[in-house]
């Protein structure tokens, strides 16, 4: 069920400003790929083009091809709504729906897709919460507001919500940047488990985190202020962190800039 992503010649714009230039890469199924790079280099923008969330921002558009197995996400007859159902996303700040209970949050995607059967929904809720390592902590208060959980729990709730609709790919946009170290560890463990089923792409500012969780790492950089971000190199995480082929990558990883 996990799918392969093949990006070629992708440019992303905000109005007339090109934020990301000419990116091509392949993400294999059931792997974790980490995007690293200095702030403003287009990592998050690029991530959002992978489930057509980029175009949600007024004035934003995308050129190029993103193949999910054999379908081009930007093909003419593709429904962006269906794309987002297939490619799930977890955001930087935990964003559970404040008006919904824990259970309703997890079930939100199912409800949208017309799953009304109470038994099916309940099973999916439990399965997703277990999948997000949250079940034991919340099973006694499923009807309490999701906003009442701690930050780390909220983020795992958002992960549960994302995997409840059984996507093929899971995109994570700095999922731990708003969390304390212990919650971060919990999420990292979870990522390790989730990759058995999903293709995962994670944007992170934390290089230790990239080294710990990912199989492959992509380094993004921009040549100057106002210039678009570009992909500098992508390789196995081991190679990027020990012996990168580009000097800029090594400078960044060793903390010489960024």
């Amino acid at each position: 069920m996990a799918k392969r992503i093949d990006v070629s010649g992708l440019n992303a714009y905000y109005g007339n400003f090109r934020a990301v230039e000419d990116i091509s890469m392949v993400v294999e199924p059931r792997t974790v790929t980490a995007f690293i790079g200095p702030s403003g280099c287009g990592k998050s923008t690029f991530l959002r083009t992978l489930n057509r969330m980029h175009e949600v921002i007024p004035g934003a558009r995308v050129e190029g091809k993103v193949m999910l197995d054999d379908e081009n996400l930007y093909g003419s007859n593709i429904d962006p709504v269906a794309v987002r159902r297939t490619v799930g996303m977890v955001f930087q700040r935990p964003n559970p729906f404040p008006t919904m209970s824990i259970k309703e949050n997890v079930a939100a995607g199912l409800k949208l897709n017309g799953v009304r059967n109470k038994k099916v929904v309940d099973e999916a809720v439990e399965r997703s919460l277990r999948g997000a390592n949250l079940w034991n902590e919340v099973k006694d208060r499923l009807d309490k507001p999701g906003a009442g959980l701690s930050g780390g729990q909220q983020q795992r709730l958002c992960i549960a919500r994302a995997i409840a609709v059984e996507p093929q790919v899971l995109l994570m946009d700095e999922p731990c940047s708003a969390l304390d170290p212990i919650s971060t560890l919990a999420i990292e463990d979870l990522i390790g488990q989730l990759k058995e089923q999903y293709t995962i792409v994670i944007v992170t500012h934390n290089m230790q985190q990239a080294a710990r969780v990912s199989d492959r790492t992509a380094f993004f950089n921009l040549s100057g202020v106002g210039q678009p971000g570009r992909l500098i190199e992508i390789d196995s995480t081991e190679k990027i962190f020990s012996n990168p082929s580009v000097q800029a990558t090594e400078d960044y990883i060793s903390g010489r800039f960024g």
């Binding site: 489930n51 969330m53 949600v56 007024p58 004035g59 709504v81 269906a82 794309v83 987002r84 159902r85 297939t86 799930g88 996303m89 955001f91 700040r93 964003n95 559970p96 729906f97 404040p98 008006t99 919904m100 939100a108 995607g109 949208l112 897709n113 507001p145 906003a147 958002c158 919500r161 994302a162 609709v165």
Partner: protein, 348 residues
């Protein structure tokens, strides 16, 4: 009752002797001891706090006085009433015996306000959503300004427009409603083709009048919905409408309610727009297309000129009823909002 003197005191009574104190605030001179310096500050603090809490208390006193004075006059009117104040439809304050009651005018008030709400709330929410989530950004901002300006158009202008423009245009709509929906009772016309100076037309004018205010308030609320929630819904594969239903509407629900209540309050209390459009009569007629019925505010305005003594007190009694109705509406809205506070998302 025991508060008339304070309330009557206009600006002159409370303000002037304070203002000099505020202006002549001497910054602390000495740098000597802690006790000294805090002494000056303490006196200033005490005066300023007195002034501001005094203003707040004055506001409470005014509210109490409104209730008290209306009640006193209303009691004197009701005791002179030869009919039952609550169940009489007639409004005969010049005749002998004096008979009047709020049955017809309260019904008319509520009917016209309900018509206005049924039309205005969905349309206003539609416009608010259009401005916040559908319209291109540049147009949206301009539209926001236009709506704010329209919300400030005085009601007498809407009344003038309603009487001179809308009334003739409602003839066709009335005939059509009567023909195809006459069976619903509500839209039945006793005499088809009469001038549409009816509660229904009043409701339409009121709807148009309260449209901008409901729109303006709910647009503000919709714009405050955090982007994160909207994106969360979209990332789950929601269409735009589903995103609005999962993220925007629940977040804005209490705001929508208070916006609607604001509009309802205006519709209930509106005087001039009703007085210009309606051809009033003091009967309860739920065929809302018939030129009949009247509202409390409009009765007060149109009867006021020819009323004396008990007649005026009777109008004040009617005003008290209107006051109570608006109180109930406002209180109800506050309760609904308070009950939903747990899920309001205010902390998000």
């Amino acid at each position: 009752m025991e508060t008339p003197r304070e309330t009557s005191a206009p600006p002159s009574d409370r303000e002037p002797h304070k203002t000099p104190n505020l202006a002549g605030s001497s910054p602390r001179r000495g740098r000597s001891s802690l006790a000294d310096s805090s002494g000056t500050g303490r006196r200033g603090d005490a005066i300023f706090k007195f002034a501001s809490s005094g203003s707040g208390i004055l506001l409470l006193v005014i509210m109490a006085a409104i209730a008290a004075f209306l009640t006193v006059r209303a009691i004197s009117a009701i005791s002179a009433d030869h009919g039952n104040f609550l169940t009489t439809s007639d409004w005969q304050t010049q005749a002998d015996p004096i008979t009047f009651g709020i049955a017809a005018i309260a019904t008319g008030t509520i009917v016209s306000a309900v018509v206005a709400m049924v039309i205005a709330v969905p349309v206003a929410l539609g416009i608010a959503l259009f401005i916040s989530h559908y319209a291109p950004r540049r147009i949206a901002q301009a539209l926001g300004y236009v709506v704010d300006l329209l919300a400030a158009v005085p009601s007498i202008v809407f009344g003038l427009w309603g009487a001179l423009f809308l009334v003739p245009h409602m003839l066709g709509v009335n005939a059509w409603l009567n023909q195809y929906f006459g069976w619903t009772y509500v839209f039945h016309q006793n005499e088809p083709g009469t001038q549409p100076r009816s509660l229904f037309t009043v409701g339409v004018v009121l709807a148009i009048m309260i449209l901008p205010i409901i729109t303006a308030v709910s647009r503000e609320i919709f714009l405050q919905v955090p982007r994160a929630h909207e994106e969360a819904a979209l990332a789950l594969g929601a269409t735009r409408w589903e995103m609005i239903r999962t993220a925007v509407i629940p977040f804005g629900r209490s705001g929508i309610i208070s916006a609607s209540m604001l509009g309802l309050g205006r519709a209930l209390g509106e005087t001039m727009a009703v007085a210009t459009v309606l051809s009033p009569s003091y009967v309860i007629n739920l065929h809302i297309l018939d030129p009949a019925g009247s509202t409390i505010a409009q009765t007060i305005a149109s009867q006021f000129g020819e009323s004396q003594g008990t007649g005026r007190d009777a109008l004040i009694a009617a005003g008290l009823v209107l006051f109570v109705i608006t109180l109930v509406v406002n209180g109800g809205a506050r309760m609904i909002i308070a009950r939903r506070k747990e899920y309001s998302g205010a902390d998000a």
